[in-house]
Symmetry: D2
Subunit: 280 residues, 4 copies
C-alpha cells in the first residue's frame, strides 16, 4: 500500500517589478516570488478531490494584487505579508513558505550624479529571503545573497594539509582566492530594519574578505561569518557556502618560461566546496 508523506505545493518564478514614486524620484524593484504551502491536501493526491486546493494560478494573482496594496519596502516584509494573507484566507493551509529573490538594480550614475529614474543591473549576485511560518507559530526569516563573486590576488595561503598517496597539490604561500559565495543569515524575531541589516552584513562580509590574510577557505569563511555576526545584532547565525573558483598557475615550463604568479588558468569545474554555519 502506498501512502502520502510530506508534501507541499505552490507557484515559483512569479516575477514582479515595482515603481515606487517619491515625487520625481523613483525606486525600482524586480523580484521573483516563490510561494509554497503546506496543509491538508491529501485528498487531492489520493482521491482526486481538489476542494481544498487553492490553484497556483490564484497564488500568482494574489502576489500581484497584494503588491499593489502593500507598503512593504523590503522582500522580507513582503514575504511575511503575503504569507500572512494566504494563511488567514485559507484554513486548509497549515504553513507557508515564501521565498523572494531581488535583482541588484542600482541607480544609474553618470558623472557625479545619480539619476532619479534610470537604473543599471549590478553584479551577478541576487538578494534573497525565505520566510516560513506555521499557522500557530512565528515567522522564521532567513535572508542572504547568492552569487557574490569576489577574489583576492594575494594574502591567501594553503599549507600544512594532509599528504597521502593521492596528493599532487603543492603547498602555497601565495595563491589566488576566488569564490562565488552564497550567504544566508537567520534573523531574530524582532527586526526593525531588514534593509539596514542587510547592508551592514554585506559590508562586513566584504570588509573582512578584503582585509583577511587567508590560511584556507575555511579560515576566511569563519572570520567573514564572525564579522557579520558582530555587525548585525539581529542575526543569530549565518551560513556561508564558498566554492573555491580555482585559478591554476599555467604550466609554462614546456616552453622554457617561468611563471611567478603571473598567468593563470581559471576553471569552473571541478571546484572546492566549503560550507559552514557560524553561530553566536
Amino acid at each position: 500500500m502506498a501512502k502520502l508523506g510530506n508534501n507541499q505545493y505552490g507557484k515559483a518564478r512569479v516575477r514582479l517589478s515595482r515603481i515606487t514614486r517619491h515625487g520625481d524620484t523613483h525606486d525600482f524593484d524586480e523580484w521573483a516570488v516563490k510561494v509554497l504551502l503546506q496543509g491538508d491536501f491529501a485528498d487531492s493526491f489520493t482521491k482526486a478531490d481538489n476542494s481544498r486546493i487553492l490553484p497556483t494560478d490564484t497564488m500568482k494573482n494574489t502576489v500581484y494584487s497584494l503588491a499593489r496594496e502593500s507598503k512593504a519596502v523590503t522582500i522580507e516584509q513582503f514575504a511575511m505579508e503575503l504569507g500572512d494573507y494566504l494563511l488567514r484566507d485559507n484554513p486548509q493551509v497549515s504553513g507557508a513558505s515564501i521565498a523572494i529573490e531581488a535583482k541588484p538594480w542600482h541607480r544609474m550614475t553618470t558623472g557625479a550624479a545619480q539619476d532619479a529614474t534610470t537604473f543599471r543591473l549590478g553584479g551577478p549576485e541576487v538578494y534573497t529571503t525565505v520566510a516560513q511560518r506555521d499557522r500557530d507559530g512565528e515567522w522564521a526569516v532567513a535572508s542572504g545573497v547568492d552569487g557574490l563573486t569576489i577574489l583576492k590576488t594575494t594574502h591567501s595561503e594553503f599549507t600544512g594539509f594532509i599528504q597521502n598517496r593521492h596528493t599532487t597539490l603543492q603547498p602555497s604561500t601565495d595563491r589566488i582566492f576566488g569564490t562565488c559565495a552564497t550567504v544566508t543569515w537567520h534573523y531574530d524575531s524582532n527586526v526593525q530594519d531588514f534593509a539596514d541589516a542587510r547592508k551592514r552584513i554585506i559590508a562586513a562580509l566584504l570588509r573582512e574578505f578584503t582585509a583577511h590574510h587567508s590560511m584556507s577557505v575555511q579560515h576566511t569563511l569563519f572570520d567573514m561569518g564572525k564579522a557579520a555576526l558582530e555587525a548585525a545584532a539581529e542575526i543569530q547565525r549565518i551560513t556561508l557556502v564558498m566554492p573555491n573558483l580555482h585559478h591554476l598557475l599555467a604550466n609554462l615550463s614546456p616552453f622554457g618560461q617561468d611563471n611567478p604568479n603571473h598567468i593563470f588558468v581559471p576553471i569552473d569545474e571541478p571546484h572546492g566546496y566549503i560550507e559552514a554555519t557560524i553561530e553566536r
Copy 2:
C-alpha cells in the same frame, strides 16, 4: 563570541568519463562526482590549522585513481566505494556524502543495428545518486532522475478547486499537462542490482504518466509514485517534484478566431510546483 556550527567541505563537479571494454563492444559512462566530508575540521576554521584537512584537490585525484581500479558498474556502487575509501583512509572524517550524476548516453542506432562504440546523448534528463554514510553507520542511498520532461496533450483535467476573489483560472476538463520531473527514491539497505531497479522505476513512472487520466498534478504524482513503489520492492519511499510546465491556450478572440485546444503559449515562468513523498 562566534562559534562554528555545522560544516562540511569537499569537491564538486569532478567530471569523469570511462570506457569499459567487452571485446570490441564498449560501454561509455560520463559522470560528475561531488564529494562532501563531515568531521573534525574545526581547527581549520578557528585556528588556521590545516593539519586535519584533506585537500579537495586530493579528493579529485582519489576519484580518478579509484575509478581506474573500480569494478563498479553503477553510480551507486562507485559512490559507496569512494566513500568507503575516504572514510577508511581519513580518521578525522566522521561522515561522507557522495553525489554522482550521469549523462544519458545511449548507444547509437543506425537503421536497425546498435553500434558497438558510438553513442548519442539522449534526453535532457540526468541520472542521479546520493550515498551518505556516517563512520559507524550504513549507507543510505537515494537515487533518481532530474529533468525528465514529459507531456500529455489530453486526459488531464483540473476542476473543483477553491474559488476566491483572486481566482481567474477557469476549470478545465481538457488541458495540456507538461512537467520536468525530478524524482528521488530511497533504497533499502540490501539492493542487488541498482541498474535494474532504476530501469523498473523509470519505466513504471513513464507507464503510469502515460496511462493516467489526471485530475490534478497531485493526483498523477501520487499514482506515479505508487506505481514506482509497486515496481521496485527495494525502495522504501519516493519523492517527486513536478513543476507544471504551463501551456496556456492562446487568446485569439481579439482576432475573431476560436481556439479549440489547438494553439498554446508555452511558458517557463511562473510555474506551478508540486512536491510529495510517497511511502509504503
Copy 3:
C-alpha cells in the same frame, strides 16, 4: 554627423505549441519563432516617427493568429507562410527573415507501443530553420539541427600534425571523439517535403559519423557533409560546426597506475572548434 546604416527589428522567442488531431491521435509541436523585418524604418530612428512601425507585439499576435489558420506541417512551411503574410500586409517592409526552432518531442513509448497523446522530450538538440525573402525575391531556406551531441569511443586518430615549440599534444591513434554539432543545410527553391529531407539528412549524418574511421575532426566533418549531400538532392550545401568536446586521458602516473584509454577527464572548455561548408 551620424547616419543610419543597416537595421532590422522584430520579435524573438515567440513560443508556440500546437496540438494537431488525427482522430484520437495527436501530433504535438513546440516552436520558438523569431521574426525580423527589414525595410523603410529610418524615420523611427532619426525623427521619432513610428508611423511605419509595425509593433513587435503585433508580430507576436500575428504568429499565434496565423498558426490557428495554418495547415503547415513543418517549421519551414510555417516560416514562409508567416513571412509571406507580413510582406503582403506591410508595404514598408522590404524583407523578412523568419527563424524557428522546434523542440525534439517524441511520442512516448511504453513497452512496444507508442502512445497517441503522450510525449517525451528527446535529446539536447533542437531543429532549426531560417527562411529569408526580399519583397521581389524567392525564399532562401536554411534548416538544420543545433546541439546534436554524439561521441565515438574509438576509430578516431589524430597524427601527422605540425610540431612547434608550443606543441605538447601527443599524436594519438585511438582517442575519444565527441562533439556537439550545429548543422545547417541550404535548400534549393523547390522542395517537396521538408520533413522527409530533414529525416534523410540527419540519418546520413549519424550513419557517417558512426561508420567513420576518423583521422581528424575535419576529416569526419567533410565526410558527414558529403553523406548528407548524397542523401538529399534538394540541398545545395551544408555547413557543419563541430566543436571538439575533449575527453582527456586522466594522468594516473603520480599514483603508480597505468591508464590504457580507460578513465578520462571530460572538459567543456577550452574546446576545439571546426567549421566548414561542403558544397556540390
Copy 4:
C-alpha cells in the same frame, strides 16, 4: 561530387587570468580567448592529411605562453599580438580572427578606499573584442560590450505606430524601457588607447540612455549610437542590438484594483529585438 567551401578552425574558451604588479598594487584580468584560423587546410578535410594543421591544443598553449611575454594592457592589443604571432609562424594560415571577452572585475571598495589586491565581479556585462587580419592586410578591430542591462522607469513613450487587425497593444506615453544591450564599435586603423576609447564610448552610451526622452527603442538606440560616435573620433561605426526587456503592466482589474504604472510583470520572452548600425 562534394567539395570543400569556406572553412576555419581554432580553439574557443581558452580562459586566462593575469596578475599585473605595480609594486603592492595588482591589476587583475580574466579573459576568454577564441582563436580562428583561415588558410590552406583542404587536405585535412579531403585527404586525411594533417600536415598543415596546427593543433588547437597548440593554439591554447600559444595563448598562455604569449601572455607571459606580452606587455599588452588591453584585450585589443593582446588579440593583435596573438594573431600576428600565429600568422608569422604559420605560412599555411591566410587569416586570423581573435576574439576575446573580459569579465568586469572591479577593484573592491570598502568604505571610501579601494583595495590594492581585492576584486569584485561587477555587472552581468562582459567586454569584447574581435580582431581580424588577412596575411597581407591590416587589422580590423571591433570592440564592444555584451549584456549591458539598463532600464528607465519613465521618459519612454511608444505611440503613433501602425494599427491593423492583429493590434492589441495600446499606445503608451509612459512605459518602462529595459534592455540588455550588445554593442559593437569598429575602430579606425590607428588607435592610441583602446582602454580610454572604450571608457568614453560606454560613458556616452549610458549618459545618452539616461538623459533620453524615448519615443521608441529605435529612437533611443540611434541617439545612443550618435553619442558614442561623438565621444570617440577613433570609431567609424557602431552597431547596437537592443532587445526590449518587457515589463507588462499587471492587469489588476479582475480584483477591482487600479494600477497607475505601479506593479509590472517582467518577462524574458517573447522580447522585441532592434538592431541597427550608426555610421558617420
